[in-house]
């Protein structure tokens, strides 16, 4: 059913300002919510980053920093704070930015936005506190049954998810009302379309979250039994799909960064929109690759989801990953960099942190994360990789080298537009994506190779020292774990520079005057 657009003159007024950089009309209530969600995201990034350092220094055989119980504290907090809290708080900021600011519209029902924020923050803090005070809650990101955490831990996750659902509802209401009030005509811009796709995937994912964590909460209260296989199947309807929300949001940000940094326009917008639709239809099904070694899941179910569905989703990513560089190339050639095949790339604005973040994010996501993901989704290869360090190597390339780096680059634009502050330390900002990307690539290479030598994941001691049955590993595994540790140190340095720039910009950055 098509919405009837009101003439703009009759649409309700809202308290706003005109952005002096983009010309967007910024709803002041939306501005506050974007800022508070983005700042909270960065706080969780800091916490998760410190945990990453502790995990890496424990896995580095020459250091072995933490004893087992504190290793599992650091690993659980690292997984939750990075994979869920940092990314989803930042995505909510992105949804409000795309739904309200980019469409020159008002954020519908800001109180719902604040309620969503309060629930998300309350849930995230509760889960973090429980991991810290209760050793039984250090069940890692997956919290596989029969590992039983405190009921308050599951409650924290459920409260966070309810808040996230409310934020997604507020976003969809904003886009719908913007259309009704005639704030835009035709379809939404491509980047907002990508965010709508992220919102749809989020809605499906959050249903999966309810199916997973509400029974787990009741099970932890001894109110019902819970079959480990059923839990695993349900968990992977949120565990991987939650990362597909990131994927759609990240690709939207790629399009925005390409436009903001070099003025690129999509080469074929219909094709890009089609690629986003492939995500909605197929990408969550591809999550079944997590269940490839599970005996309780049928072979046809595994084959359909991890072959046909996953390849169609990967095709969506391939379309984006080559249409965006193509658009960047066309834009830079128009600026006069036409000599040879690669002058446009050599003379691109590499000192612009948004541009370098975009290129590194696409490179690490596609060349490292995407290729290894498709390979590890082969049933036969999955069996030899299962539970070794190659798996986290893969998803650090997608979620960290890809998503986090894109979000970092986007921050350098969000801060001037939303916080109205000039970036502090622009020179440092220029170097930051290089340091972070190099650190991640070194870390991922070390992890990948250590995994190929059999290094297990999720254990503080890779050699299983003291186990009743000894396990022999290649002597090359330890040097590779050291490479991983060195890479982590470089990446954490890059992450800290990003956080320092963001905090200093908010606190002491020069004010950008708003237009009346």
């Amino acid at each position: 059913m098509a919405a009837t657009a009101l003439p703009l003159a009759r649409a309700p007024e809202f308290e706003s300002r005109i952005c002096s950089i983009t010309g967007f009309r910024v709803h002041l209530a939306a501005e506050k919510l974007i800022l508070v969600n983005a700042v909270t995201a960065v706080v969780f990034l800091l916490l998760g980053g410190l945990m990453a350092l502790l995990v890496a220094l424990t896995r580095w055989p020459a250091i072995k920093l933490l004893p087992a119980d504190w290793f599992y504290y650091a690993l659980t907090a690292h997984g939750l704070d990075m994979l869920i809290f940092w990314i989803i708080f930042f995505e909510v900021a992105g949804l409000y930015l795309g739904g309200a600011v980019v469409l020159n519209a008002r954020l519908v029902t800001p109180p719902v936005g604040w309620l969503a924020y309060a629930l998300m923050l309350g849930g995230a803090v509760l889960a973090n506190v429980m991991i810290f005070v209760d050793p039984s809650s250090r069940t890692m990101f997956t919290s596989y049954v029969p590992l039983k955490a405190s009921p308050l831990y599951y409650l924290g996750i459920v409260i966070f998810a309810v808040g996230a659902i409310l934020a997604v509802v507020a976003f969809f209401a904003t886009v719908f009302v913007a259309k009704y009030e005639g704030r835009y005509s035709g379809s939404v811009p491509l980047a907002v379309f990508g965010l709508v796709v992220a919102g749809i995937i989020a809605a499906v994912t959050l249903v999966g979250g309810a199916l997973t964590f509400i029974p787990a909460l009741f099970w932890s209260l001894d109110l019902m039994p819970l079959d480990p296989e059923v839990y695993r199947v349900n968990f992977w309807s949120i565990g991987h799909p939650s990362q597909q929300i990131n994927l759609a949001a990240m690709v939207s940000i790629w399009y925005i960064l390409a436009t903001l940094t070099v003025g690129a326009k999509p080469l074929n917008e219909k094709l890009s929109r089609f690629a986003f639709l492939l995500y909605i239809l197929f990408i969550n099904l591809g999550s079944v690759h997590h269940l490839l070694v599970d005996a309780g899941v049928s072979i046809p179910f595994k084959i359909f989801n991890t072959s046909y569905a996953m390849y169609l989703a990967a095709m969506g990513s391939m379309i984006h990953a080559f249409s965006i560089p193509g658009a960047v190339e066309v834009a830079l050639r128009k600026k006069g960099f036409t000599s040879g095949v690669f002058e446009w790339l050599r003379r691109a604005p590499w000192a612009e942190p948004g541009f370098s973040s975009l290129i590194f994010s696409m490179f690490i996501f596609g060349f490292v994360g995407g290729t290894t993901g498709v390979l590890m989704g082969h049933e036969q290869i999955n069996i030899i990789n299962h539970n070794n360090l190659r798996i986290p190597a893969h998803f650090h390339a997608t979620v960290v080298g890809g998503t986090t780096l894109a979000f970092m680059g986007f921050t350098y634009y969000v801060l001037p537009i939303i916080a109205r502050r000039e970036i502090v330390g622009k020179k440092w900002a220029s170097w930051q994506p290089f340091i972070y990307a190099i650190g991640m690539l070194v870390m991922i290479a070390g992890m990948m190779q250590a995994g190929a030598y059999g290094a297990p994941r999720r254990v503080p001691d890779s050699t299983y020292a003291g186990a009743p049955i000894g396990v022999e590993f290649s002597p090359l595994m330890d040097p590779m774990l050291a490479v991983m540790g060195v890479g982590a140190l470089i990446a954490v340095t890059g992450g800290l520079i990003y956080i320092l720039i963001a905090v200093l910009t908010l606190l002491v950055g020069k004010k950008i005057e708003a237009k009346a």
């Binding site: 095949v341 790339l345 390979l375 190929a452």
Partner: protein, 41 residues
């Protein structure tokens, strides 16, 4: 921008070929790893 417009995207085409070659290399590498453990003796 219309999809029928002619664009010079030779650089991107080279990147596509590099990507495909890289993927083929990784695929062969993984198959090699697989052959080391298969068939199970």
């Amino acid at each position: 921008m219309s999809s029928h417009e002619e664009h010079d995207t030779r650089g991107t085409m080279v990147l596509v070929l590099v990507f495909l070659a890289w993927f083929a290399f990784l695929w062969l590498l993984n198959m090699g790893m697989l052959l080391q453990v298969w068939p199970v003796k």
